[in-house]
Symmetry: C2
Subunit: 312 residues, 2 copies
């Protein structure tokens, strides 16, 4: 079997014209180099050196092999340094999950943060379809993600909350915004709800469900849409009201629904942003970087956690 070690020994011997000198250079004893060369000759089926009593002389086969051997070792070096480049963020791709409102809040800024620090990297922010991303996380195709979760516990996944965000009621009807919206009023409203968060267990909905359940009601969702923007537009057109994170409301309402406004719920309700990854996994440097940057971004915008704000 041909090996890199054999090629290294071969090149050293070729350049020095001597097994002893090659062994010195490589830090081996002379018989070791001799043995490696013999193994290489056997595996190639050709003699590489003529043993001339004193010293060795490369054959024409050795002349032929040399540039190829050099190329092999060079491409090994290239492989090694490519990997080194990835692990030190000089190059390569960093993949991170961030979907729903989290992406809306910090997506572009997060990518800017990464590129400012490591101009050579490619960044993939995965988050088109929330159920797909959740599946990617669970199956290990995605290492970590930032998202809004309903509960802290999840099967096999480690969930680390980093911030929270108030949920507000949005409407194009000023009468609906006159006072904070109670569970009772919420249960009477006609709502359009987007599917923006973790799994079908959308955290906003789950929060609302809990709120209504306390009031003995069930949520009455009139319209279901895929994304937050569509929901906001529908609110702006007056077809329904909705409940979305405050940051999203501040950002989207002026653009998509200028006629609409927002008001708090009563009692106030909050979404939780969290970092999620497989429980028990050792995170890569890239994932740790993304987690750090995403956490910083989110904390700038969203509210601190209840109780002590624990910085990672």
């Amino acid at each position: 079997m041909l090996s890199l070690h054999q090629l290294t020994c071969f090149l050293a011997a070729y350049e020095h014209g001597s097994f002893t000198a090659a062994a010195d250079e490589l830090g081996y004893a002379q018989p070791s180099v001799s043995e490696q060369i013999r193994a290489l000759e056997k595996s190639l089926g050709a003699q590489l050196f003529r043993r001339a009593g004193r010293g060795v002389v490369p054959t024409t086969v050795a002349d032929t092999l040399r540039p190829y051997a050099e190329r092999v070792l060079a491409s090994v070096d290239a492989a090694r340094s490519a990997v080194a480049g990835v692990t030190s963020f000089e190059s390569g791709t960093i993949r991170f999950g961030m979907f729903g409102i989290a992406r809306l809040y910090a997506g572009a800024g997060l990518i800017a943060d990464v590129l400012d620090r490591y101009p050579g990297v490619r960044v993939e922010l995965v988050g088109q379809n929330s159920t797909e991303v959740a599946e990617d996380l669970r199956r290990g195709r995605l290492e970590a993600a930032m998202l809004a979760v309903p509960t802290i516990e999840s099967e096999g996944l480690a969930v680390t909350p980093v911030a929270r965000e108030e949920l507000v009621y949005i409407s194009a009807d000023p009468a609906h915004l006159a006072a904070p919206v109670t569970a009772h009023r919420l249960s009477l409203a006609s709502l359009v709800m987007p599917e923006t968060s973790y799994r079908t267990e959308d955290s906003t909905r789950q929060t609302l469900r809990r709120m209504l359940h306390g009031a003995g009601r069930n949520p009455s969702t009139r319209i279901e849409v895929e994304d937050l923007e569509t929901a906001v537009e529908l609110v702006g057109l007056g077809y329904a009201d909705s409940v979305i994170p405050r940051g999203a409301a501040e950002q989207l309402l002026p653009r998509l629904a200028p006629s609409a406004g927002f008001v708090s719920l009563r009692p106030r309700q909050f979404d939780t942003f969290a970092i999620v990854h497989r429980a028990g996994a050792v995170l890569s440097p890239a994932a740790r970087l993304m987690i750090e940057l995403a956490t910083r971004r989110i904390r700038e915008i969203a509210l601190p956690l209840e109780g002590s704000a624990h910085l990672s």
Copy 2:
């Protein structure tokens, strides 16, 4: 230490997305592949696969590594097939020693023989300076050569005679060619002698020295030149006579010395052509090829050996 084996296992695992499938393809047990991957990850300092309970998932580092790993293995294959090309004479260089009159007799034809059979090869026929070639042979820089030798024995070299050739006396003076030249007449002649053969122990000269010694004389060389052609031209111009192999005379006289002719010595004298290589060496296929072709060429032109003609 990074190894080719690890890269092979890595690629198989990457392509199958499974260590078990990779092991099946490579004919190993699953833990072996697992171990190789672990060693590779350790040597690169980066995780290549996320273990996802069932199956493994390549990381972005693995995505980066893959094309480099493929290039490494491809260049190893290239090295192997380059060597295979050399040993099967599809490509590469064949170096062979052939100097003095031997080259004059069979040089171009021999190269033609090789190129007809193996169009891809480069042929080097080494033989500019006889002492240099002898040194190359002795030091192992040259594997084998065809040349004219004085004796069958030589220090450390195996000498295999393959043919012999008569030595003739050439002159521009018809009177000198009237009858076969005896030792007595030779000792009186004014000669130009080229340095064409093995070492300073030129076989033609040594033969003549023996012949003259039998007659109690010493050879009287008037002019020393490097090559046979110059000597023949000088003979053509009438400055001196010479003794050269018959084949050389037949070939060179019409071209270089039209006015000159040749006559046998009395008793007849012969040069011996022989294959020379280091004693005890195993000859490469290339050397064996050259020896076979050169022997055939020489035998077509020169005389068979005394006694039984032993065909190799």
